[in-house]
């Protein structure tokens, strides 16, 4: 808290008034979406009002879910391993470049961090060529896809997982580096004198102490991967293997008002995991973006 003095009661009230009005601003588009998704006819009442008693329906949610279910499943298969892997690799990279000190690590570190800011358009063509022409996993691993529960399109998903891990490493490395910089140097030296090798130090000291940062990184990275559309379009494309953002962007592509009910329901279904994560771990998410 930076200001001790409290404003006078009148000004305090005005302040709360403005802040509450802003809640309206930030929540209204979401609230309207929710209300619209629950109406038989989106036009029956003003957009922000709840449906009338006889106009309430979950039919739009059911329709949207049936269209997105496959995408939702693909997104889970994609986001969970991609998130865990990129967080782990970010943690080891940050450890090797921060806690272990050696000359000349700065240029390497700059390459890592600059990777955060690369516009993906600069890598899209090579990325799609690489997976489509040079390493088509769906063809190369045909024996694997013959196994029960697996389909060739899982090859595309695997390619997408690897891509997300690769492009997620820069930000996860930065997040962990910021955290590891505040670790006591003396503590690491004590562990070295106690006879621990770099691997043992990572395993027994760094990793257990990283739990709070893993929470931040996993949440942030999960949101990023789940929300992505561009890589999903280019690496997987529409079809059986597509993550949920792809079918959602096509849902009810006609602009008719009736279609909006399904659209809104779809938007909520696709956003649900990130909203749940956000509500449960808002604090960690705020920490992640503030770094």
């Amino acid at each position: 808290m930076s200001i001790h003095e409290r404003a006078s009661d009148g000004r305090q009230l005005l302040l709360y008034g403005v802040l509450v009005a802003l809640i309206g601003f930030y929540l209204l588009p979401i609230e309207i979406g929710l209300m619209t998704s629950l109406k038989m006819n989106p036009l029956s009442t003003a957009p922000f009002l709840p449906p009338g008693l006889d106009g309430f329906t979950l039919e739009k949610w059911r329709q949207a879910f049936s269209q997105l279910a496959n995408g939702l499943f693909n997104s889970l298969v994609l986001a969970i391993p991609a998130t865990i892997l990129s967080a782990l690799l970010g943690s080891t990279a940050a450890y090797g470049l921060t806690t272990l000190n050696w000359r000349g690590q700065m240029p390497i570190l700059v390459l890592f961090i600059a990777g955060i800011f690369i516009p993906y358009q600069a890598v899209l063509i090579p990325l799609s060529k690489f997976w489509a022409v040079y390493l088509p996993l769906d063809e190369l691993l045909q024996t694997v896809w013959g196994l029960p529960m697996l389909e060739p399109y899982h090859g595309d998903l695997l390619a997408l997982i690897i891509s997300h891990v690769a492009y997620g490493i820069p930000i996860t490395t930065l997040l962990f580096r910021t955290y590891y910089r505040n670790f006591s140097v003396e503590m690491i030296e004590a562990a070295r004198l106690d006879g621990a090798t770099p691997i043992r130090i990572y395993w027994r000291i760094i990793l257990p102490l990283s739990v709070p940062m893993f929470a931040v990184t996993l949440i942030y990275q999960f949101t990023q991967v789940w929300n992505d559309l561009l890589f999903a379009l280019v690496v997987v494309g529409p079809g059986e293997g597509a993550p949920v953002t792809v079918p959602l962007s096509q849902l009810g592509a006609s602009l008719s008002e009736i279609g909006f009910g399904v659209r809104m329901a779809g938007a909520f279904i696709a956003a649900l995991p990130t909203i749940v994560v956000y509500i449960m771990f808002g604090e960690q998410f705020a920490k992640g973006v503030a770094t």
């Binding site: 302040l15 802040l19 588009p29 272990l100 700059v110 770099p198 559309l229 953002t245």
Partner: protein, 308 residues
């Protein structure tokens, strides 16, 4: 036993072997992620650059025999490219500036001993956790001509309705407004962290010196938020460069609403719809150059402040 003289001669190998010990020990940890990341980021950019020098159109093989900068000269004569570039800059600058201004105001309001300040923050930041694809759906409905909330408000005030998405003169502003809605909470969080790092004593000292609230912020507080402003602008600009997802989702196709084409959408369209791969690669490289122009000063600044 060695004498004092030979002790000096062991200096060099000692230094080297110890340095490389640390180095070798660290390799295991950073090299695998570095190779993976380096291959997909820097390897891909390099490859993309080479493709941009060819004449490749669609999928399949690339003919690397003749390399020239024709795709780049072509871009500067292409009205679509000029238009997309203009839109990109308008989006980049307006979006960033408005987000920063709103974020700063919000942060100053929040930086008082408020109850529920975490609650407010959670709500203001909520849109940022949503996918562009999701928010695009919400705003399509908000901007709907007949029944969208924006037009309902406008007509209830006695004005005539607007075609927010299909009018090429309005669509870019509408998009910027939606993006500001999504990301101004982020600017607020960054500024709030900056404000809370300023020691209480400075407010009290300025008060004692007789500064009023406006002067206090103008002369004491805001100058100290330079670091926060720089970090937030860089991140916001990067988000703006990624606005492809939002624009794609407005139409569900590679062709965004007329008037809102930016370099990011144009590149993807040229690459995967029109099959002008070499041209698209050149646009990608130019976007990369633009990003580089933004982040190089930023990283230098951070490095000088020892914050890398």
């Amino acid at each position: 036993m060695t004498d004092g003289g030979s002790a000096v001669s062991t200096d060099e190998p000692t230094l080297l072997s110890n340095v490389s010990d640390e180095f070798l020990g660290s390799l295991l940890f950073w090299l695998p992620p570095f190779l993976l990341m380096g291959f997909f980021v820097y390897g891909a950019i390099g490859w993309n650059f080479v493709i941009s020098l060819t004449e490749t159109s669609g999928f399949g093989g690339v003919d690397y025999s003749q390399l020239d900068i024709e795709q780049y000269t072509r871009a500067f004569g292409d009205p679509t490219f000029i238009n997309a570039t203009t839109n990109t800059f308008v989006l980049l600058i307006t979006f960033t500036a408005v987000c920063l201004a709103i974020g700063l105001l919000l942060a100053i309001m929040m930086d008082r001993k408020l109850r529920f300040d975490n609650g407010f923050r959670t709500i203001y930041l909520l849109p940022m956790s949503l996918s562009f694809v999701v928010t695009a759906q919400f705003w399509l409905w908000m901007y709907n001509y007949d029944n969208g909330l924006i037009n309902i408000i406008i007509s209830s005030l006695g004005f005539s309705k607007y075609q927010w998405i299909s009018n090429p003169d309005l669509v870019l502003s509408a998009v910027i407004f939606a993006l500001v809605w999504q990301f101004s909470g982020y600017a607020m969080v960054v500024y709030l962290a900056g404000l809370r790092a300023i020691p209480q004593e400075q407010y009290e000292a300025a008060r004692t010196d007789g500064a009023n609230t406006l002067r206090l912020y103008q002369r004491v507080i805001i100058p100290q938020l330079k670091g926060a402003t720089i970090s937030a602008s860089v991140v916001l600009m990067v988000f703006a460069l990624k606005a492809f997802d939002f624009l794609y989702s407005l139409t569900g196709s590679y062709i965004p609403p007329k008037g809102s084409d930016i370099l990011a959408t144009m590149m993807v369209r040229q690459a995967f719809r029109i099959n002008n791969q070499a041209y698209a690669a050149a646009i990608g490289i130019m976007l990369f150059a633009l990003a580089l122009a933004i982040i190089t000063p930023y990283l230098t600044y951070q490095h000088r402040r020892g914050e890398l």
